[in-house]
Amino acid sequence: MTVAEDISADPAEPAHRRARVWPVRRMLLATLTTGIVILCVVPFLLVFAISFGRKIDGAAWVWDFTLENYQRFFVGILWPEEVTFLYLQQLGYSFYFAVIASLLAVATALPFTLLLTRLKRSAQAIWLVFIMSSLSLSEVFIVMGWDILLSNNSGLPKLFKETGLTQWLKDVGWFQQLRDWGLANPRNVKFKTSDFATILTMSYLVWPYAVILLYPALSRLDPSLNEAARTMGAGRWTVTRTVTLPSIRLPLFGTTLLLFVFLLGTYVSVTVFAAPNKHTTAVAIYANIRGANLNAPFGATQAIMLLLSASVCLYLGHLFNKRADAR
């Protein structure tokens, strides 16, 4: 029996009062349901419907039911004469950047949050307020900051050159390695455009979320578990590997997944820091819906495919967790 049923079936409540209350409750429930449907389901259904629409050359688009957009997404519009995986590749880059950036954010937020939970309560509160306040910064603002920091003319590359670090890298032979990784041109180090800068800014964007999501689980972690492991001969790394990480496996996994899904839609960082041939689906969606292409049906198709891919990932994550729990 649910709580609602339990309350409604309260025998102490007079029958005439129950009869009056029921319609009010039903109306409230119906209003809320309608609100949720309008706000959440209708926009999604609209996008889904538009994804079957047709682009009119030189104009906007019309309602239709064509699978051309989906065909274009998977194999290109000229299939079967010509096959292109451009849009699948964009989806692949969406996953590539989102996976690495979310892992990097969690990997760096984890030790920080662990240390944070060991501070005094007052110090923890100050840090948390500081971290939460950084969430108010918009993506545009953060990327602008990183853009200046990594800019070839005024940022870190200039600092490298002025301090002689670039020359030192050349002298020890590491400069060529940086060039191979795309982090240097013949004269100096460069971070724009590079996967490194893209991933770094994306990680930075979600890092406060990682701390805030991990904090409750880590602050609840029983310190006697670690101490027990230590008394049984486990060194610091063994304790982390065999006790701490398995104890917070679910929150760790949940946080990574949430950040990953959030980062799939990153737009500004990718536009500014990723090479054009590595632009993601999110950037392509914008180009189709608001940008130069003006092909809303195909943009909607890409959005649907991004959503479906994320859902598949979440489901696989859920299965993985269930299997791990069963083991």
């Binding site: 006697s224 492991a229 049984m232």
Partner: protein, 350 residues
């Protein structure tokens, strides 16, 4: 000396002294109970022995070797925590085998030894269970088996019975003592329960406010408490304040004869155990008129709560023992035998 020795070990947290400089010896194969009220420093002392806290001063020696700076994971001391600290993500078998597998033993050998240990603590067949499926008593046994798996030099238990109900606690006290005697491991138990300490320990260390008040065998701690605090903390006692005069203690207008040597004029505190006081109407020394205020039947014991000129006195008789049959409101005489009176200098906490 063989065994564990603490030499002047103390601990301060900031400006707060948690443990005063302490000298203790834990003989090999014996069980010592660190007994005292909450916040007296007994757990801090145990954690310093385990290597989980660094002493502010002093040295810890094991079989003559200084292990003060040795980290916890290199001490080979098994520890059972108050919360048991079992790993919820491992099965019972994996918990017990933990120290063995991380120590490099093959899984099959480690699990075989874990099963033997589980048999030892009467949990044979529980190896595959998850920790969440165990009762409090079973968890405690798993924690004991896990701590014993590495064949520790010293076995440490921090309030191991506090999470158990009263009946199970009494059973486990006896079981744990028998197991410790069978294995012959030097064992230190932290407890605030004097019955637990009396049941299990070869030696009791009574602590208060970070200080060791008495180190003695259980019966000695009970019958010959070192001071008023110990007399009050271990068992029950009737207390009276007085002044030592003419070989006895003057309490108001009453002179009690005692066997304690004190300087005349010293302010003293007198204690007597309820079972050593007697209801005795015959004339003689140390007899005081009393009125029965309350009779408390506790099954095997009966307590008479008396009001006297020197304050309230509780007299205790075992049921079946030859004793008076009094009711509330009766008047009688209570006798405080001189050899049963314990006299302490006043000023000590009681």
């Amino acid at each position: 000396m063989d065994g564990l020795v603490l030499k002047g070990v103390s601990k301060s947290f900031g400006g707060v002294r948690a443990v005063d400089p302490t000298n203790l010896e834990f003989a090999k194969g014996e069980l010592t109970a660190l007994l005292g009220p909450s916040g007296c420093g007994k757990t801090t002392l145990l954690r310093m022995i385990a290597g989980l806290e660094d002493p502010t001063r002093g040295n810890i020696l094991l079989d003559g070797a200084d292990i003060t700076a040795l980290p916890a994971h290199k001490r080979k001391f098994g520890m059972v925590f108050q919360s048991f600290a079992l790993f919820p993500h491992y099965s019972v078998r994996e918990n017990v085998a933990y120290s063995l597998t991380i120590g490099g033993m093959s899984k099959s050998d480690a699990y075989a030894k874990a099963e033997t240990l589980l048999d030892t603590v009467q949990l044979g067949g529980f190896g595959d269970r998850r920790i969440g499926e165990l009762s409090g008593g079973q968890r405690q046994r798993v924690a004991i088996a896990r701590a014993l798996a590495q064949e520790p030099d010293v076995f440490l238990l921090d309030e191991p019975m506090s999470a158990l109900d009263a009946k199970l606690r009494e059973e486990m006290q006896v079981e744990l003592r028998l197991l410790q005697q069978r294995l012959g491991i030097t064992t230190i138990v932290v407890t605030h329960d004097q019955r637990e300490a009396m049941t299990m320990a070869d030696q009791i260390v009574v602590m208060s406010n970070g200080r060791v008040e008495q180190i003695a065998k259980p019966q000695e701690v009970y019958h010959k408490p070192a001071n008023a605090f110990v007399a009050d903390f271990i068992g029950k006692a009737n207390f009276f304040d007085g002044v030592f005069a003419d070989g006895g203690v003057q309490i108001g207008t009453l002179q009690l004869q005692t066997q304690a040597p004190f300087r005349s004029g010293s302010a003293v505190k007198v204690a007597i155990r309820p079972e050593r006081a007697e209801i005795d109407d015959r004339p003689g020394e140390n007899r005081i008129d009393a009125k029965v205020m309350f009779v408390r039947d506790l099954g095997p014991l009966r307590e008479y709560h008396l009001e006297t000129a020197i304050g309230p006195i509780i007299v205790e008789y075992a049921v079946g023992e030859t004793g008076p049959s009094l009711a509330t409101g009766d008047t009688t005489t209570v006798r405080l035998p001189p050899d049963a009176l314990q006299v302490f200098p006043r000023g000590e906490a009681a």
